[in-house]
């Protein structure tokens, strides 16, 4: 997997799927490119319009709690975000992100500040903070999830193998 580079946008703890993909925009669930223009706007109004392709969402604990809406990771990915880093993730969001091929990284995000230049090396298992010079360890993913990611998501995994080839 290639090395990913981008700038950090910091968010707090407990960013819910209502922050990421709010219910008031429910009607955009069948128009994801339009929905992506509003991604995370209830948590940070400046994010969707200010972010550049390849930037990272960097949050505290329990990112993505709440609803099972897969539109949440979908619109983060569609907006051009390189990946989401958080101290921890809510279960359904984490699984959804892997299933659709959005990079999600559990690591100590206190070591990342707003605007820091980041580089992710999955091979080495670290986030390199180019601004501070620090390497931050990534919590390894379970094998099952690595297999899904390597196939490009769950649907592609099934398309390729015709069934689950995970365990």
């Amino acid at each position: 997997m290639e090395i990913k580079k981008g700038k950090a946008w910091k968010f707090g703890d407990d960013i819910s799927t209502d922050h990421i993909a709010p219910g008031r925009l429910f009607h955009l669930r069948t128009n994801l490119p339009e929905f992506a223009k509003h991604v995370l706007e209830d948590a940070r109004e400046d994010f969707a319009s200010g972010m550049s392709q390849g930037d990272f969402v960097v949050a505290g604990k329990n990112f993505g709690l709440g609803s099972s809406r897969e539109h949440a990771p979908q619109i983060i990915k569609l907006a051009g975000v390189n990946g989401v880093m958080a101290k921890s993730f809510a279960r359904i969001f984490f699984r959804n992100a892997i299933n659709i091929g959005l990079l999600v990284i559990e690591c100590d995000t206190d070591k990342i500040n707003e605007g820091d230049e980041l580089e992710v090396s999955l091979k080495e298992g670290v986030v390199k903070n180019k601004t501070t010079g620090e390497d931050i360890a990534i919590t390894p993913l379970p094998d099952v999830m690595i297999k899904i990611l390597n196939d490009g998501g769950l649907a592609k995994h099934i398309e390729k193998h015709g069934d689950f080839q995970l365990v």
Binding site: D18, L65, S68, S88, K156, L166, V167
Partner: protein, 433 residues
Amino acid sequence: MGKTIVEKIIGEHSNKDVKAGDFVVANVDVTAVQDGTGPLTIQEIQKINLEQAANPERTILFIDHASPSPRKELSNAHRILRDFAKKTGAILSETGQGVCHQRLIEDYVNPGEILVGADSHTCTSGALGAFATGMGSTDVGIAIALGKVWLKVPETFKIVVNGNLAPGVGAKDLILHLVGLIRADGATYKSLEFCGETIKHMSMADRFTLSNMAVEAGAKAGLIESDHITKEYLISRGRGDKFREITADPDAIYERVITIDASQVKPTVSKPHAVDNTATVDQLKDIKIDQVFIGTCTNGRIEDLRIAAQILENQQVHSDVRLIVVPASKDIYLQAIKEGLIRIFVEAGASVLAPGCGPCVGVHAGILGDDEVCLATQNRNFQGRMGNPKGQIYLSSPATAAYSAITGHISDPREIMSSPSSQGVYPFESYLS
């Protein structure tokens, strides 16, 4: 070595002897999507030419979140579900039939089964002794198409509840208390098993309220052993033959045991904007409310409506408050009509809406204005949940919600429920039955 409920059920469905931490591919009995997640589910399986249902008579598509549809984009999303049902033979639960989780417990899920649903509150069915969990559109799409899902067998937290809940205190107060205690991520990836004397005597309605909110502590499932109360419920729904006794082994391994004395639980409220931001009602003073919402998969059952109606009978909703009542399903609505509850709500000044999710998801029918305060019996109060990030949402039991609708501010239902002789007051045994 003994097994937890979840280890037993997942083991049975993967033909393996499993323990917490194992990864398996398991057979799925029931799959479900709703109108918010279903269209994406169908698109994902269409993309890989798998538009099929492995088990159509146990694949249910619910139109409940935006129903009746408030706008054309959502009406078109509903058409995707109707078309899929026609093509595959899957069951469609139309507008007006009710919230998916209520419909699933009423007619579809049985003890010992696995349900995966594209809605986070799918855990509600865990109260039947089933492994029921919420997932995203793609996971559920594959489960619909192939009848299988991959699972990590979760570790279990045993939640032991003993003692009697006081008059005016219900299962909702108990679960809000628990979420406040272990926090919104306290049980992430774990399964909760609710047990103890309080649970043993609790009605199915109250058990569903507990299981429904397991996800608010991050949990994957909220399970309760099936027993004679489960059996009576299944008989009442015409599924007595589906009863199976599902229990945990006495020597099962639990990651954590949490003990709660129910007699010490007070009416509890979640404050904006987090479910774990809890306080007891007596700690909150003079919080004026603009809207009260009684309903949802958490507290829209007939037992909840009875409590609300007994408080609202011969009373008027405060002049500064709008009250919205939404029965969770068609059968509940019909029963409430039969018992005269709907008349009580309407006479008190409430708007009674068609069975479904109502204002809980912020799509229609009760969206908050800027800075408005809502007290709701739903399970979630995240910023923007009810359609406006500037709205303030508090969560409570039906008793607290109904009483507060009369007073106009968040109020302690024990004020009217500790004195059984006062007018319009209900003794609330049903909470303990």
